[in-house]
């Protein structure tokens, strides 16, 4: 009886723009033009500004809990930019604002969501983005289902779904990967490995050396890329999208990045993270790296930086104004969006809201008449 290797696998790591902002020209071929890099860099600054203002809004009691995206802007933007706006579908978690915005989500929607308002999820027609997903690891199945529909209808479309390193521990993640592999669904699994799931480090989530290698078990190509490198993220995503569109099924991308801020405004990462680790990653900040790259190419300077930062401030001010300017929703809205047609009991509760404590027959006991008589 033979004993032999019947299967072997390996995982590639892709980096095109290194930490010192040196570009591998060969790998960068057919990726991003100078103008595109500039555009995406500006988006990074705007997204970072939104993050900072969102943090301040929370601290001053004008907004609830907010998860900062800080440090992960290149991963969100590079991948979002690779997907086809208006055709592909973005199925996010909550740390890829940049990708949602690139696909047309009005920026104030994200603030509305975190301000405790469902209208932040009321995605406008034509914007192919699903709302922020709070229950971890759940949305990848929806992306897979969408991709199955694209395949059934023979549409050249792909669903791109985002999730964290922690999410890869949930059962739903594995079911999504398995379904996608089994049905060869055109879906791109984009894992933002930011090294932490709240206080739990990446090593606790899995005994695997990489997250990318999980793709192997589901029969799909997987790659690990530098998540703070726009070129690598773009290239890895574009390759996955092209493959999916050509009928090659799903792919998995592990973007290696870092959550530079606390998990959310409700968290204090100093309790569990080594400041040296944070320091080391802060120097790999995608904003620093891409600025250096653009400056070295003579495409950027201090004046442009100042001008962009000022523009970012204005844009974000507008976003805040839009989010805060909206009138408080009515309770009736909650009822009205429960079903297409309200069942009688819910209608009764809705209509007796202001007259009865309990949503039952209003004033069965004649209390109001009683009160009126007393008055």
């Amino acid at each position: 009886m033979p004993r032999k290797t019947v299967f072997q696998a390996s995982v590639e790591f892709l980096q095109i723009l290194d930490e010192d902002a040196k570009l591998d020209a060969k790998l960068a071929k057919d990726t991003l033009t100078d103008d595109e890099v500039k555009f995406l860099y500006e988006q990074m600054i705007i997204n970072r500004q939104l993050d900072e203002i969102a943090f301040k809004l929370q601290r001053s009691g004008r907004m609830g809990t907010y998860p900062q995206n800080k440090g992960q802007e290149a991963a969100a933007l590079g991948s979002g930019f690779a997907a086809k706006k208006g055709s592909d579908y973005i199925v996010p978690c909550y740390r890829e604002n940049g990708s949602m915005f690139l696909h047309g989500l009005p920026m104030h929607y994200v603030l509305l969501h975190w301000m405790g308002d469902e209208r932040g999820n009321q995605i406008p027609d034509g914007v192919n983005v699903t709302p922020i997903a709070i229950p971890i690891g759940t949305q990848m199945l929806h992306a897979t289902g969408m991709a199955m529909a694209f395949k059934i209808r023979k549409e050249p479309r792909v669903a791109v779904t985002y999730f964290g390193d922690g999410a890869t521990s949930e059962g739903d993640f594995h079911e999504a990967m398995n379904f996608a592999g089994s049905f060869q669904a055109p879906v791109v699994f984009f894992c933002q490995n930011n090294q932490w799931a709240i206080s739990v480090p990446r090593e606790t989530q899995t005994n695997c050396e990489t997250i990318a290698q999980k793709s192997v078990a589901y029969g799909m190509p997987g790659i690990q890329c530098d998540g703070n490198d726009l070129f690598a993220v773009f290239r890895a995503t574009r390759e996955a999208l092209d493959r999916a569109r050509a009928g090659g099924g799903p792919s998995f991308i592990e973007a290696v990045t870092y959550r530079l801020a606390d998990h959310t405004t409700a968290d204090d990462a100093k309790r569990y993270r080594d400041p040296e680790e944070v320091e080391a990653w802060a120097s790999k900040d995608p904003i620093i790296r891409h600025r250096k790259y653009l400056e070295a190419k003579g495409l950027w300077d201090d004046a442009k930086q100042a001008e962009t930062e000022a523009r970012a401030k204005t844009i974000v001010q507008e976003i805040v104004r839009a989010a805060e300017g909206i009138e408080k929703p009515s309770v009736e809205e909650v009822f009205d969006s429960t079903f297409a047609e309200l069942p009688p009991e819910i209608r009764r509760q809705r209509d007796t809201l202001r007259t009865s404590s309990i949503g039952q027959e209003p004033d069965q006991a004649g209390l109001r008449a009683h009160e009126e008589a007393r008055a």
Binding site: E118, I136, T204, Q205, P329, V334, T338, Q364
Partner: protein, 324 residues
């Protein structure tokens, strides 16, 4: 005597029981090094080590399923599900396994398990961090469900839950977590599962509630006309329900209002109303009233106080009940 808030009382009770019984193991997301997102398990890992206070991968089904296995192997697991909205992935393990093991093995295998879960609204939390799912689990044969509203009760009920031979869901009303302190003795004591508490005695009307609405009901009580004498019952255990305390009170007052955060339809209020009409029919002066959440999805926090039974709505319900 030491004063403790709800978080501190639960933390203290966990430490107390881990000290007393080395089979007790705490597991969940962020419960170890970080001491839990609400700091309920703060300091336990440093004190009892990483084998007994376990930071798990992010997987609720994994947490619940392995907790069942731990229990089967004679440990006393106390898993935490970070928020009630994330019980979803654990549902199958909890309902189809933990709850049924004893019956389907005719008691050959039992699951002594205490699942801690923060529940309820009122803290401006994001989506799926504010629901009140107690009725779902009270409706699951084989599970016990408790919800303390005070630090003193929290300790006594947690010790009773961990020592119980069957699975107990231990719901923690997060709105109360840090709202006040009271004396919680260091000594060992339990509060029996299935025992309600009369918070305030009265003769005209009985108000039955549990969890955070206890304090809304107290506020409503203060706002009632001077001549109304209200009896307030804190159920403390949702299942098995303390029918005797409820029945005795309603037979005395002849009127009852049930208050809960969960949706009205099929909420515990429905069950309690039914118990009351079965046992107190000839004593009733008015139909049992329910002041509850609406039959809608729990709204995001901008509207949560409209949804939750706040004091003015409770007061109105009480007055309507009294008007008969």
């Amino acid at each position: 005597m030491p004063e403790r808030n709800l978080v501190q009382a639960i933390n203290h009770a966990l430490a107390h029981e881990m000290e007393r019984d080395e089979r007790v193991v705490v597991l969940g997301e962020d419960v170890g090094f970080n001491g839990g997102v609400f700091r309920v398990t703060e300091g336990l890992q440093a004190r009892f080590g990483r084998d007994r206070v376990v930071d798990t991968p992010l997987a609720e089904s994994g947490i619940m399923g392995t907790a069942i296995g731990l229990a089967m192997a004679d440990m006393r697991p106390v898993p935490e599900i970070q928020f009630e909205g994330f019980l979803g992935p654990a549902y199958d393990q909890l309902v189809n396994h933990a709850a049924r093991y004893r019956t389907r093995t005719r008691s050959a295998i039992t699951i002594p398990l205490t699942v801690r879960v923060p529940v309820g609204g009122g803290i401006h939390a994001p989506e799926l961090h504010s629901d009140s799912p107690e009725a779902i689990y009270a409706h699951t044969p084989g599970l016990k469900v408790v919800m303390p509203s005070t630090p003193y009760d929290a300790k006594g009920l947690l010790l009773a839950a961990i020592r119980d031979p069957d699975p107990v869901l231990y719901f923690e009303p997060k709105r109360v977590y840090r709202s006040f302190k009271e004396e919680v003795p260091d000594e060992d004591y339990t509060i029996p599962i299935g025992q309600a508490k009369v918070v305030s005695e009265g003769t005209d009307i009985t108000v039955i509630t549990w969890g955070a609405p206890v304090f809304q009901c107290l506020a409503a009580m203060d706002a009632l006309p001077e001549d109304v004498s209200m009896e307030l019952i804190d159920l403390r255990t949702i299942y098995p329900i303390d029918m005797d305390t409820v029945i005795e009170s309603v037979r005395k007052t002849g009127r009852a209002v049930v208050v809960h955060e969960a949706p009205k339809t099929c909420g515990m209020g429905a069950e309690i109303s039914s118990i009351i009409q079965e046992h107190c029919f000839l004593h009733l002066e008015a139909p049992v009233q329910r002041v509850a959440g609406f039959d809608t999805v729990m709204p995001y926090y901008k509207l949560e106080l409209e949804y939750l039974p706040e004091a003015p709505r409770i007061e109105k319900g009480i007055m309507e009940c009294l008007a008969y």
